[in-house]
């Protein structure tokens, strides 16, 4: 048994211990990501669509009439009623944008694209990538300003991390 054999055996032992630790650490954990993937591919329920479409239109009218205050409780209700629908999340992002709360808007958009990636797909009519790109830029500027004032704010750093994920989603991927 030479040096390469010994090093390899050590590497194998370490890798087996590492993967066993990883498996035992993650055993039994929920997998929300897989659920959301299944959700996107599930056929649309016509009853759900009819219910949500009327309310979404109402919210859009309120937003067009520059009335985000009245739209917000309706959207919150929609989010509670239809937690797997992306559109209410997008609308909530729009409400935050009207109030110039770019960070909150970006976080809502991130939730929306997790539920329905079509919002970032140029080949679908839902595409809103350009709007999200601007929101992400403004949100990151906001967070950087706040972080300069309080560099140890963990909540801000967490938000920045989520917005970076949205930024990467907007940039595109082969997967």
């Amino acid at each position: 048994m030479d040096r390469l054999d010994r090093i390899s055996l050590w590497a194998i032992v370490i890798l087996i211990i590492g993967s066993s630790a990883l498996i035992s650490h993650n055993m039994g954990e929920a997998k929300p990501q897989q659920n959301s993937t299944k959700r996107q591919e599930a056929p649309a329920n016509p009853d759900t669509n009819a219910g949500i479409n009327n309310k979404v239109q109402l919210v859009k009218n309120l937003l067009e009439g520059n009335n985000p205050g009245k739209a917000e409780p309706l959207v919150r209700d929609l989010i509670l009623k239809y937690p797997h629908e992306a559109e209410p999340r997008m609308l909530m992002g729009d409400i935050h944008m009207r109030r110039q709360e770019a960070v909150n808007a970006a976080l809502e958009y991130k939730e929306a694209i997790e539920l329905n990636p079509d919002y970032l797909d140029k080949k679908t009519p839902l595409f809103q990538g350009k709007k999200m790109k601007i929101v992400v830029r403004e949100a990151l500027e906001d967070i950087e300003k706040k972080l300069k004032l309080s560099p140890d704010d963990e909540a801000l750093k967490k938000e920045r991390k989520i917005i970076y994920i949205l930024q990467r989603r907007i940039a595109g991927s082969c997967a």
Partner: protein, 366 residues
């Protein structure tokens, strides 16, 4: 020297231009992503956003096939542990998927300013280094033997079949209407780029891991002997420079750590994913791209690796092993650790401790 510069330059330029003309960002050429697309199109996985028969892959194989036929160098060889190569092919694609790109895409990402891909480069170099230690320690998969020429046509024939499916679009072939699978350059352009890349790579032996391996093998001599000894390195250098200039000219360059296409901040797993790719590529004598080119010239062992890569591409999608913008999934992390572990086991089992570099690995080193 010129042909090496031309090969690298062409692959770099075509890689950037294909993205410009419709392929996903920084994905003008990517063997792992494209094999995932093809396997999805054939119904081997159900991700509706990853289904397209990529003409680039067909072109790589057929470009190599036509030129080896023309040069009368088309020979059927195999018998160097093809099943093991099939298995390592699976691991190569898992490693690439965790990193979100094969070695070619890694260079395309770096040349487009994606600094996170540098971590992958470091991982690839580490993997190549480990693989070389095994080669120097007598690793051998056995010497291939010549077979009846009919064997050599299997993989090119499969590519002709895929091309027919792409052009014919029968009902059983799935083609994405949205997502990455729906983003593609015109078929003729992609096919032509693939054919020329396959032809040039067949002529020069272009291989990213091969270039890095030579640097480790010869050390400073590899550079001092320029241009006599540094063909592969020159090819990689020319690839990078051409892709960088093309990215800048087409407005696809954006330097930074954040917001890069096909990237995430799971740097450890990106490093380990590419380490697995480098390690495995050295053991089977070539990166995923090189395996396709070798399969085109009749190498049945490389053909087994290509089929393994196709299987790996399906597994990546079905088991959710690939990295995404949020990071590396837990399943991918376990797959990488176990994959590297298995490569070490393969390395140990297939070592002949009474010799150093096996004869099949010595060709092309002079």
């Amino acid at each position: 020297m010129l042909k090496f510069l031309l090969t690298g330059g062409f692959i770099g330029l075509a890689g950037v231009l294909l993205s410009y003309f419709g392929n996903p960002a920084n994905t003008g050429f990517c063997v792992s992503c494209f094999l995932e697309n093809i396997s999805g199109s054939l119904g081997l996985h159900g991700n509706i956003r990853m289904q397209y028969i990529r003409p680039e892959i067909i072109g790589f194989v057929l470009g190599s096939f036509f030129i080896s036929l023309a040069r009368k160098e088309f020979r059927a060889t195999a018998g160097s542990s093809p099943l093991l190569r099939f298995f390592i092919g699976i691991l190569l694609i898992i490693g690439c998927a965790v990193f979100m790109g094969c070695p070619i895409k890694m260079l395309l990402r770096i040349s487009a300013g994606d600094l996170t891909a540098l971590v992958g480069l470091a991982g690839l170099c580490a993997g190549v280094f480990i693989g070389l230690k095994f080669l120097e320690g007598g690793f051998s998969l056995g010497k291939p033997i010549e077979l009846p020429v009919g064997n050599a046509f299997l993989i090119p024939a499969m590519m002709f079949f895929l091309l027919a499916l792409l052009l014919w679009e029968p009902a059983f072939v799935a083609l994405s209407t949205k997502g990455a699978g729906a983003q593609h350059a015109p078929i003729a352009l992609s096919l032509a780029a693939g054919l020329i890349a396959g032809w040039l790579a067949r002529e020069t032996g272009f291989c990213i891991t091969g270039g890095i391996a030579r640097l480790f093998l010869w050390g400073p001599r590899e550079v001092k002997g320029c241009p006599k000894s540094t063909g592969l390195l020159l090819g990689i250098f020319s690839f990078f420079i051409t892709a960088l200039v093309a990215s800048l000219l087409t407005g696809q360059f954006s330097a930074g750590w954040h917001g890069q296409p096909s990237s995430n901040d799971s740097h450890l797993w990106n490093f380990l994913g590419m380490l697995m790719v480098g390690f495995g590529s050295v053991l089977i004598k070539g990166c995923p791209f090189r395996q396709l080119v070798l399969a085109g010239q009749g190498d049945g062992d490389a053909g087994a690796a290509v089929l393994g890569m196709m299987t790996g591409a399906s597994l990546v999608q079905n088991w959710g092993l690939g990295g995404n913008s949020a990071g590396t999934p837990y399943e991918g992390q376990v797959a990488v650790l176990l994959g590297i572990c298995l490569l070490f086991i393969v390395g140990l089992i297939y070592r002949r401790r009474d010799m150093s570099l096996a004869p099949e690995f010595q060709s092309g080193l002079d």
